[in-house]
Symmetry: C2
Subunit: 342 residues, 2 copies
C-alpha cells in the first residue's frame, strides 16, 4: 500500500519476534547496561583485530536473536545488514557462517533504519515469512576508519559523539501476536546536504536529514507529533538534538516533550566522558533492543517514530574539502495490544 | 510469490522502461563503445577530484535514463544505488540533487544486481510504480581506494582485471509492454568464502559465489542451463570464467556455450591491455545497458540469467591477512513479446 511521497503504510506489518543486543564494556556501564543482552568485557571479542571483533559481535548478536526468538537460522530468508566500515567488512566476515542470502546496506549510522525498512517491505510483500535486520559499529574500528589511531590519544571537542561498540539484530516475521511490536509503516530518507563540514560534529551534519524525514512523515501521513508517543532519533547527540528541535520549532512543531535520541539514552554524558552522546550504527540498534522495544512491550509507549540518522562521512571526501551529507530513515513502531501504562 | 530457498518469482514483473550508460574513454574504445550512451573523454568529468568525477557520472546517467524513458524525476519513488568506495561517497554526492528517497547498497561489483533485485521486489509488491537502480565505478577512484596511487605506475599481473569507469542507471516500472525486458525473478546471493587471498585475482575470489548463486537458481526453479538463452556473470574475467566453468562442469553443467562475462564483453583484452578483463560495479551495469538489454530488445536472447559478481575486498581486511569473500546476485531478465532471432 502506498501513501505519500516517501512513505509506506503496510497492509501486512512485520512483527519483531526476535531481538538481541551485544555491546562493549563502556556501553555496559551506561544507563542501558543491565538491559543489554551481552556486555563483552574484552574489546577484541576474542579476535585478532578490531574488525574481526566487530564481525564476531555481529555473529553473536545474530545467533542470540535467533535463540531468543526460538527461530532456526534456516527459516530466515533474507538478511539485511551493514556497518560503518569501507566495503562493509564487519558484515562480510560476520555473516559468512550464517549462509543467509544477504543484502548489504550502507546508510552510515542510519543503517538499522534502512535494514528494518527493507525487511518490513519484504514481509509486507509476502516475499518472506522471516527476515533479519542487523547493524553494528565498534569504537575502535570507527576511530581507525574515520579519525585517528587510538594510541595517538587525540583530543576531542565537546561536540563530538562517541561511537558505540555494539550490535543489534532483529527477526521480523509475517506472523506474531498483538502483544508484539510491529513495523506498521516507513518513511525513507533522501540525501540532505546543508553544507556541514566539521567531521567532529556529526550531530550538525545529521540533524537536517532527521528534520527532513520527520517533516516528510508528518506530511505523508497527515499527522504531527501528537500522533506519536515518542519520536526517537538515532545519534544526533546533544548538539544535533538542539538543531533538530530548533528546525522543527520553526515549522511549528514542538518536539521538546516527545523527542529523545538514542545517543543520549545509551551513555550518561556527564559521567562517561562521551561529550555530545553516543553514535554509530550500533547506537540506534542497541538502544532499540535495550530500551525502545522493552518500553513498548511494557506499555510505556504504544506508537514510536524511530528515526536512525546517518552522516555520510568519508576521510576521502572530507580531505578533499567536501561537506558531509546526512540521511535519516523513519520506521513506525506500534504495539496494538496491551494497555498503555501512562 | 515465493519459490525456493533464495529465489523469488514475481507475480508483477518489473519492466525496464528507462536505461542509460555513461563511461570513460577506454570503455568507449572497447567493443561496446558505440552502444554506450555517453563516452566522456575527460576522466575527471569536469570535476576537481576522481571521486567527484564518479559522482558527476552517476548524476549524468540518472538524468539520461529519465530523459530517455521520458520519465519525470519526481515519479521515481525510490532509488537503489551504490558504488565501490568506502561510505559510498560517489553515490552520496551523486544523488543529493535527485532528492529521491535512497536505499544505499554495498555489494561490491555485484551492486547493480542487488539494486535491480530490491527494485524489482519493490515493484512486485506494488510499493512503487517506478524506481531507479544504479551503480558505478571509476578506474581512478578504485585504484586509489584498493591498490596503488596511479602515479606509482604499479605493474599488474596477468590475472588482474581493469576497473571500468562507467555507470548504468535503470528505471523499473510496474507498467510496460511485452516488447520491453522484464525482471521476472531473482536469486539472492550469500557470502561465499573459499579462502582466496590474492587481491590481484578478483576472478578467483568471485567465481565460487557465482557458482553458488547459479546452482541455487537451478535448484530453486528446477531448471538448468537449457532454460536460459544466456547466463552472464558480472566481472569474473578470463581467470574467473575458467573457474566457474570448471566448478559447473563438476556439477554436471556445461556452460561453455551459454556463458559470457561482462568483463569479457566490455574490453578487448588482447588489444586494450586489460589482462583478465573488466571489473567494478560499472562493468556489469554498463554492459547490461549497452549489450545485454539491446540484444534482448533485438530478439537475440529471450531469457537471460544476469549474475553480477562482487569481491568483498578491503585494504583493511586484506592487510590484516584475511581472505576475500565473494557474493553474486542473480536477476532473471525476460522478453515475452517479439520473435527470437536465432
Amino acid at each position: 500500500m502506498q501513501k505519500g511521497k516517501a512513505s509506506l503504510l503496510f497492509e501486512h506489518p512485520a512483527y519483531i519476534t526476535g531481538m538481541a543486543s551485544v555491546a562493549g564494556k563502556k556501553e555496559g556501564e551506561g544507563p542501558l547496561g543491565k538491559a543489554i543482552d551481552v556486555v563483552e568485557q574484552d574489546p577484541m571479542f576474542g579476535s585478532d583485530s578490531w574488525e574481526q571483533a566487530e564481525s564476531a559481535m555481529q555473529k553473536q548478536a545474530a545467533d542470540l536473536a535467533l535463540e531468543k526468538g526460538d527461530i532456526h537460522r534456516k527459516d530466515i530468508r533474507y538478511l539485511f545488514a551493514g556497518d560503518l566500515l569501507g566495503q562493509l567488512i564487519a558484515t562480510s566476515f560476520g555473516t559468512v557462517d550464517l549462509e543467509i542470502p544477504l543484502f548489504g546496506l550502507y546508510g552510515a549510522c542510519s543503517t538499522i533504519g534502512e535494514a528494518l525498512s527493507l525487511g518490513a517491505m519484504c514481509i509486507d510483500a509476502c516475499h518472506a515469512d522471516k527476515v533479519m535486520a542487523m547493524a553494528s559499529s565498534h569504537y575502535a574500528t570507527a576511530e581507525k576508519q574515520f579519525r585517528f589511531p587510538l594510541g595517538y590519544g587525540n583530543q576531542r571537542p565537546q561536540c563530538t559523539t562517541w561511537t558505540v561498540t555494539g550490535c543489534g539484530a532483529f527477526v521480523l516475521s509475517s506472523k506474531g501476536s498483538e502483544e508484539q511490536v510491529q513495523i506498521t509503516g516507513i518513511t525513507t530518507g533522501r540525501m540532505v546536504d546543508l553544507g556541514a563540514k566539521d567531521s567532529m560534529n556529526m550531530g550538525a551534519a545529521m540533524a537536517p536529514a532527521a528534520w527532513d524525514t520527520i517533516m516528510q512523515n508528518f506530511k505523508d501521513f497527515g499527522v504531527d507529533e501528537g500522533w506519536y508517543d515518542k519520536i526517537i532519533t538515532g545519534d544526533l547527540g546533544e548538539v544535533g538534538k538542539k538543531i533538530l528541535l530548533d528546525f522543527m520549532k520553526n515549522e511549528g512543531h514542538d518536539l521538546s516533550e516527545k523527542h529523545t535520541d538514542c545517543g543520549l539514552e545509551i551513555f550518561d554524558n556527564k559521567t562517561q566522558d562521551t561529550h555530545s552522546g553516543g553514535s554509530g550504527c550500533g547506537c540506534a540498534a542497541v538502544t532499540l533492543c535495550a530500551k525502545i522495544l522493552p518500553e513498548m512491550l511494557q506499555g510505556t509507549w504504544k506508537r514510536v517514530l524511530f528515526v536512525p540518522t546517518g552522516a555520510l562521512l568519508s576521510t576521502v571526501s572530507y580531505n578533499e574539502g567536501l561537506s558531509i551529507p546526512g540521511i535519516a530513515h523513519g520506521v513506525i513502531l506500534e504495539r496494538i495490544g496491551g494497555k498503555k501504562k501512562k
